[in-house]
């Protein structure tokens, strides 16, 4: 017992007070950083091989995990009210981390072979911010951070408005292994963004049977493509000529317009032949509007494969019916889509 009591003596002082005092990051946004390896500077811990590009809002260099064009603005987002998202992070999560299938994310991190893989230059914090906490003024440091544990978090671009209020989610230039908790945001929110809690694998600790059952009950939906998690409906999106496919969660949207905008952003890099490096805002708006023209205009149409295996034109049926029957999406060249009728 005595070692324990000694421990109390020694540590009592430093431990009882919130450890957050010890290492406040320098950016003054009230972010507390946890450095579990005892190194005080969050930057020094990083040996995960994720270089930091200053001036670049990306935390993760692994391009295959990038969600899209940095700096792309979401047209329908009310950015003045949306403290959660900067324009940078309006991609929906496209990498929800599946428990055992997320080879991409986990392998890219596991390929880093160092003892500090996790670094625990960890930013502990909430995964989401609620509007209600804004009202509390001095929101605890933890509120604005994303927990950066390694592992099966989806990789979202965690960039943030630099000038935003303190509760913005802070991007970490030197996060250890760059895993961020995915923050999906429901784009169709009104001015009070109900931030969707990020989907951490295995959290909250509810039996998967229970979540599946409740999802089925409450959404009255037989076909829950729910392996990634309850209340999600991920479908593949392919585009003619694109080298790889994407996935979107249809439950993130409630109208065709939203889906369409999201897809525009996602695929604009392909259409314009730019593989989304570091577009400046100016360029982005140009490419987006151009893409919009392309999509809304004549060059591409959005189609989907339904339960019966038929390819249909998106937009004919009510949204609810659409998401129940849609199995995958495809952005086809108009020329190829003639048979779908319109």
């Amino acid at each position: 017992m005595s070692p324990l009591l000694l421990g109390v003596e020694e540590e009592g002082q430093s431990r009882v007070s919130s450890p957050s005092v010890e290492c406040i990051s320098q950016n003054g946004l009230g972010i507390r950083e946890w450095n579990y390896l005892g190194l005080s500077d969050f930057c020094s811990v990083d040996s995960s091989g994720v270089p930091d590009d200053n001036g670049n809002n990306l935390n993760l260099k692994a391009t295959e995990l990038r969600l899209g064009l940095p700096g792309s603005q979401s047209p329908e987002r009310e950015t003045e009210h949306c403290f959660l998202n900067s324009g940078k992070l309006d991609e929906k999560t496209l990498f929800p981390l599946l428990p055992s299938k997320d080879g991409i994310c986990s392998s890219s991190q596991k390929s880093v072979v160092t003892g500090n893989k996790r670094g625990f230059s960890e930013v502990k914090g909430t995964i989401y911010t609620e509007k209600k906490w804004m009202g509390h003024g001095a929101v605890p440091d933890s509120q604005s951070l994303q927990p950066v544990s390694h592992g099966k978090y989806s990789v979202a671009q965690a960039s943030v408005k630099k000038d935003g209020p303190a509760n913005l989610i802070q991007e970490q230039p030197c996060t250890s292994n760059g895993t961020k908790v995915n923050r999906t945001d429901i784009s169709n929110n009104s001015s009070a963004p109900t931030a969707n809690r990020a989907q951490v694998v295995g959290w909250p600790p509810i039996r998967s049977f229970r979540t599946k059952t409740l999802t089925t009950s409450s959404k009255n939906n037989d076909e829950v493509d729910g392996k990634p998690g309850p209340g999600t409906l991920f479908v593949k999106v392919s585009m003619d000529g694109a080298p790889y496919l994407r996935k979107v969660d249809l439950r993130m949207y409630s109208t065709y317009q939203e889906l369409s905008s999201a897809l525009e952003k996602m695929f604009s890099c392909f259409t314009l032949g730019q593989c989304g490096a570091h577009g400046t805002p100016g360029k982005e708006s140009l490419s987006e509007s151009k893409l919009k023209d392309l999509l809304h205009g004549s060059e591409y149409v959005l189609t989907y494969e339904d339960k019966d295996g038929d390819w249909m034109l998106v937009g004919d049926v009510p949204w609810e019916m659409f998401i129940e029957t849609c199995r995958r999406l495809k952005i086809m060249k108009s020329a190829d889509a003639i048979g779908l009728g319109k």
């Binding site: 421990g7 946890w34 579990y36 502990k124 995964i127 809690r197 309850p230």
Partner: protein
């Protein structure tokens, strides 16, 4: 030592029923070991890989009832990959080959196949009871085999299993001669069943006490069933939707009034709130109410219902009941011992349905509370301290704040003091789950005060190895420790390796444990299986010792490495 003939000692042992006591008795002397083992009928194996079926059979030839658990607890939350293990097949095969007259099999988190179920049903003529909890790998065909072949089946209890439903005929497989059913629970099955078969089955089962239906059983069938089985003690309603003005509904109301033995009510997988009033007459006698699968009921409906349940001892409910609703529970249910509040929408930060207020109200109103599972959006130290003052009888205390690292919103402090108060005042605490923002301090408290603690679940907590060490050093009765996403590493893992022989298992995922440390541990402790679960694409295990391990699961075992491990598991 023996002043009595063996038969007398054996008779005395008949009165010793708990597993712990039986285990203790067998250690007294060789003679008692022998008597005990021949008279032992019920065996509980908490980790199916800690022993082989052959050794079990050799030691307990009189075995009648076996309970087996397979996957680690965190498998419930998708942290354990598919096919990790926990197969019941070798057990059933071995038992079938032996002369064991198995009568009861209870499985939790195991992989069960249709073939296993069929073998089970055909190998043991006196088989009476099958209970499957959170299992997977079988279909309704396997269930049909059990129904068809187990002539004296008393209990078929399927709880929260992932069952592939081949729609239909399994219920009709109960032969007409089967009249022994006492308990039938198929609520987790999703598919259609033959309703007429169900009615006939219930009609010819005079001993039926527990019946839990699945969602496809409509209200009019329910009415027929209750008419034939007014003696039911435990009822799980499938679909409870009808027009309150219909004739069927009025018949149901009348029939329910006759079911005055019902003490336990669950289900309502589909529900029309306006029909709930028919239930009120039986609410008075209820001791267990489970509405956690009834998202169709709103807070008001729940509150109205609960107001009638004065004798309730266990309540499982969704958080849409709200803090106010919990207040009603607190003022009505004075006998409440167990409360579980589940989140109706775990991923939406929108409306905070229950907060610390609800919990405080419950603690103030329900002095007998000893078991809690509470999902909420926020918690404060002050609330926990109040709860600790009000309730000192907790055996299980599981608090899950949906945002895993949330601090006390009022003081911005970690929740160390709150949980500290809980462990300090609840000396009988056996199971604890933590959440919220927590530092090493909380573990110091746990190590100091939670002397009876047997199971601890930790996530996103702590600052350093000290946290884990406090627990390992202080909690002498610890049996299961599961940790995820905490900064505990090699120093903590290797400090007291012998400790793990006193525990059933340790799970650590997304922590700071290196491959090298696991190898060291495995080398020094041959009585432990140290498993590394590596799901990445690279399957070569020539991993650098300094590499951090993603998931490690270690457990004590008498039989060394298991032979059925999948490729992605490395046994050190």
């Amino acid at each position: 030592m023996n002043y009595f003939p063996d038969e007398v000692v054996e008779h005395v042992f008949d009165f010793i029923t708990s597993h712990k006591d039986r285990n203790s008795v067998s250690l007294v002397c060789k003679s008692w070991y022998k008597i005990e083992r021949y008279s032992r009928q019920r065996v509980f194996i908490g980790n199916c890989y800690s022993i082989t079926p052959q050794r079990l059979i050799a030691r307990f030839p009189g075995l009648k009832s076996l309970t087996l658990k397979g996957k680690p607890h965190f498998a419930d939350f998708n942290l354990v990959p598919h096919d990790w293990g926990g197969f019941v097949d070798p057990w059933i095969k071995a038992l079938a080959k032996s002369r064991i007259g198995l009568e009861e099999l209870r499985l939790k988190r195991m992989v069960v196949s249709d073939d296993s179920l069929e073998l089970l049903s055909k190998s043991f003529p006196n088989f009476k009871s099958l209970v499957l909890v959170s299992c997977e790998g079988f279909t309704t065909d396997g269930v049909a085999a059990i129904a068809a072949n187990c002539r004296f089946l008393r209990e078929l209890d399927l709880q929260e299993n992932e069952v592939e439903d081949h729609r239909g005929h399994w219920l009709s497989c109960f032969p007409e001669s089967c009249t022994s059913l006492v308990s039938l629970n198929f609520a987790c099955l999703k598919g259609e069943i033959n309703l007429a078969s169900l009615e006939r089955l219930v009609a010819r089962s005079p001993n039926l006490k527990s019946l839990r239906l699945n969602r496809v059983v409509p209200l009019n069938t329910l009415q027929n069933l209750l008419m034939r089985a007014p003696q039911l003690v435990d009822l799980g309603i499938g679909s409870y939707v009808d027009d309150p003005s219909s004739e069927v509904f009025s018949k149901l109301k009348a029939v329910i009034q006759l079911c005055n033995s019902i003490r336990s009510l669950s289900g309502f997988l589909e529900v029309a709130p306006c029909c709930m009033s028919a239930i009120y007459p039986i609410c008075e006698n209820l001791t267990f109410l489970n509405l956690s699968y009834a998202p169709g009921l709103q807070g008001n409906d729940l509150t109205k219902l609960v107001q009638h349940c004065r004798k309730l001892q266990r309540l499982w409910i969704l958080d849409c009941i709200g803090d106010k609703g919990l207040g009603v529970v607190a003022s009505t249910c004075k006998e409440l011992q167990e409360l579980r509040v589940f989140p109706s929408d775990p991923f939406d930060a929108g409306n905070a349905a229950v907060t610390e207020e609800g919990l405080v109200l419950i603690s103030a109103g329900c002095p007998k509370l000893n078991s809690l599972l509470y999902f909420c959006h926020q918690m404060t130290n002050a609330a926990l301290i109040t709860v600790a003052k009000n309730c000192t009888n907790f055996i299980r205390f599981r608090l899950c704040i949906l945002d895993p690292v949330k601090a006390d919103p009022v003081t911005n402090q970690p929740l160390d003091e709150g949980f500290g108060a809980i462990v300090r005042s609840n000396k009988s605490l056996k199971r604890l789950s933590l959440s919220g923002l927590l530092t090493d301090q909380v573990f110091l408290y746990i190590g100091m005060y939670a002397k009876k603690l047997e199971m601890l679940s930790i996530a996103f907590a702590g600052d350093s190895n000290k946290g884990m060490l406090y627990v390992l050093n202080g909690c002498k009765k610890l049996r299961k420790l599961e940790i995820r996403d905490c900064p505990f590493g090699d120093v903590a893992l290797l400090e007291d390796m012998g400790k793990y022989e006193t525990m059933r298992s340790l799970w650590m995922s997304s922590c700071e444990v290196t491959h090298g440390a696991c190898k060291t541990l495995a080398k020094k402790m041959p009585s432990l299986n140290v498993e590394i679960i590596n799901e990445s694409e690279q399957l070569e295990f020539s991993l650098d010792d300094r590499l951090l391990v993603d998931k490690m699961y270690l457990y004590r075992t008498l039989v060394g490495h298991r032979k059925d491990k999948p490729e992605y598991v490395l046994l050190l």
